[in-house]
Symmetry: C2
């Protein structure tokens, strides 16, 4: 079942560089022994790190480069000066088929701009999206877009639904994933035009997903759907707000447990439970934003994460490389666009007007 998979790693991206990237790859390799890696970055630095982990070293090669995209470079700058950087080379390895997927902790804007340039958007895709793994009380769900774009047309929201469903199929092993459209209410008349139009399409078009309708923000963490679709501004704000709320409640809990000596003793006895809670809400466990809608898979790790967090992004990359996510998605998208075009040409209540926006 598990095939050998090669992951292209941008060894220079992120706040910590090769140290975290090599450490993360080593942790992930322990879990997925069939993995192999290509590190793109400063050869001497990477080699020094690899010397500590012979098992990883045996399954890795290094492609040297000493040019790097800065964490603060604007996407335009990064593109102009990008050729030959560790980021660029990692993406080219995916394009050339040397690697199945690329992982970088580099600057998101630059990574997206270069990914679009090198891997190119899939046929009919106007905008790739970034998908996040969101922990729920049941398991996990996928939320997209969490910040690749600002605003989305109805057609783009429809594309996101199909992209998210393809990812859910790969990760959660469900053939027909449930999908909800994030909105400010659940009635048909609620929300922006684009959201209502996407709702009408998703409801009335035969697609390889189980569309359950609008959902509100408080339902994401309840795990009511496999995939939550939203435009990137609100999606990014929702994701960050959830992270902030988790931190806030952990802080309340810490304070509450210290108020009396009885609570302090109770908290000591319950330490095992608190450890489990801490693991559950650890953002490093769900680290990794997946770029969807390109001819190749790219996973963006948080720039400030450590080896444990980076390993989560590598695990995620591996899971997706294992399945034929892209081939199936391309077919689904083509069928969807074909149906949209057909419904726009013919009569009927579903109009394409909001696409012109």
């Amino acid at each position: 079942m598990s095939e050998p998979r090669t992951i292209a790693l941008d060894a220079m991206g992120g706040d910590h560089g090769p140290n975290v990237v090599v450490g993360g790859a080593a942790l992930s390799l322990e879990r997925q022994p069939e993995l192999s890696f290509i590190f793109f970055g400063d050869e001497a630095n990477v080699r020094t790190e690899l010397e500590h982990v012979p098992a990883l070293s045996a399954r890795s090669r290094i492609v040297h480069t000493d040019t790097v995209v800065g964490m603060d470079d604007k996407p335009g700058q990064a593109l102009r000066r990008g050729k030959g950087t560790s980021l660029w080379l990692a993406l080219e390895a995916v394009k050339n088929g040397e690697a199945h997927v690329a992982v970088s902790a580099g600057n998101t804007g630059a990574l997206m701009a270069m990914s679009k340039l090198i891997l190119r958007p899939m046929a009919g895709i106007e905008r790739p999206a970034i998908a996040a793994i969101w922990p729920t009380i049941k398991a996990e769900c996928i939320v997209l877009d969490v910040g690749a774009n600002i605003e989305a047309t109805a057609r783009q929201l429809g594309d996101f639904a199909l992209m998210g469903a393809a990812m859910a199929r790969a990760l959660f092993h469900v053939e027909c994933p449930t999908v909800g459209l994030l909105n400010i209410g659940v009635e048909d008349m609620k929300g922006a035009d684009e959201v209502r139009q996407a709702h009408a399409w998703l409801k009335n078009t035969d697609l390889p997903l189980d569309y359950i309708g609008f959902i509100e923000g408080d339902k994401i963490g309840q795990g009511v759907v496999d995939v939550v679709v939203v435009e990137g501004f609100a999606g990014n704000i929702a994701l960050k707000t959830a992270e902030g709320t988790a931190r806030q409640i952990s802080e309340y809990l810490r304070q509450a447990m210290q108020r009396t000596w009885i609570s302090q003793i109770g908290a000591m006895l319950a330490a095992g439970g608190f450890r489990i809670l801490k693991e559950k809400v650890d953002p490093r466990r769900s680290n990794g934003g997946t770029f969807l809608g390109l001819n190749g898979i790219v996973v963006k790790s948080h720039g400030g994460t450590d080896a444990f967090g980076f390993a989560s992004a590598v695990d995620l990359a591996y899971e997706m490389a294992q399945r034929g996510l892209i081939g199936r998605l391309a077919a689904d998208l083509e069928a969807f666009h074909h149906k949209l075009d057909a419904s726009a040409a013919g009569p009927g209540p579903v109009s394409m007007s909001s696409q012109a926006r």
Copy 2:
């Protein structure tokens, strides 16, 4: 310092009607003995409830009506059939000066539509907003708009900043509240055009607030500012997502504490601490969305809340009625609009172009 204040209560709004409204008013009166109330609703029902609380009964009068806006009525329907409903009469009492503020647990869309019709937006205000009280690790902040509108122009975001600052001045007793603009990054170039334009105005215009720039969603709960400004779609999603995340973590905590008998004993000993945590994250404590930008203050209670939650909305209404929020805000808004118009007429980097959107 505390003056007698009269609150107009829509006794029929919400899922539970007079029972919760009277119970909430009674709780709030215990805390603010100078309050008096006008209940709009079915006289017999309200009187039956008031008989249980003589102290409240002595400070209340009832205005009978047996027509009610349904919780599912569309705003248009509610307006057409609204005259004489409990909601309508409560708002008219504010307009006529019989009451200082109105509180309703009724349908948000109908309440906003009627509030606009009866109280009218303040001069120069294109769109009123709904402001929420958001608990933070330091104290509380104000977030607006949480769903009165979808999208906002740069000028409307500027208005929201001034409205939020006026509310912060009334509630938090700070003369120059700190204000942040919610965005998907903190660099000047990030975000939608409207958000960047509002940022430029807030940064460069002399206003009675301390503008600290962009903030991301994870900073809301950290209490870094008194006021968070965002358009209503993303604001509503952020608010609901935070509520959902709080519930999710409470559920994790409950499960984690039950895993072993040692954790169970620990949790029992720490029960006092858990009670404090529960109070901290109790959504009833921050119940109440304030409509800002109208010639009168209206507080929307959650429709499903109980007497404890409704009392929080009444407390909030009282706090705002205590201060001259509206007079001061009107002057601030006029000054802001005057400066915008002047900067649009003259040369300079601040353009009014995004207003045309």
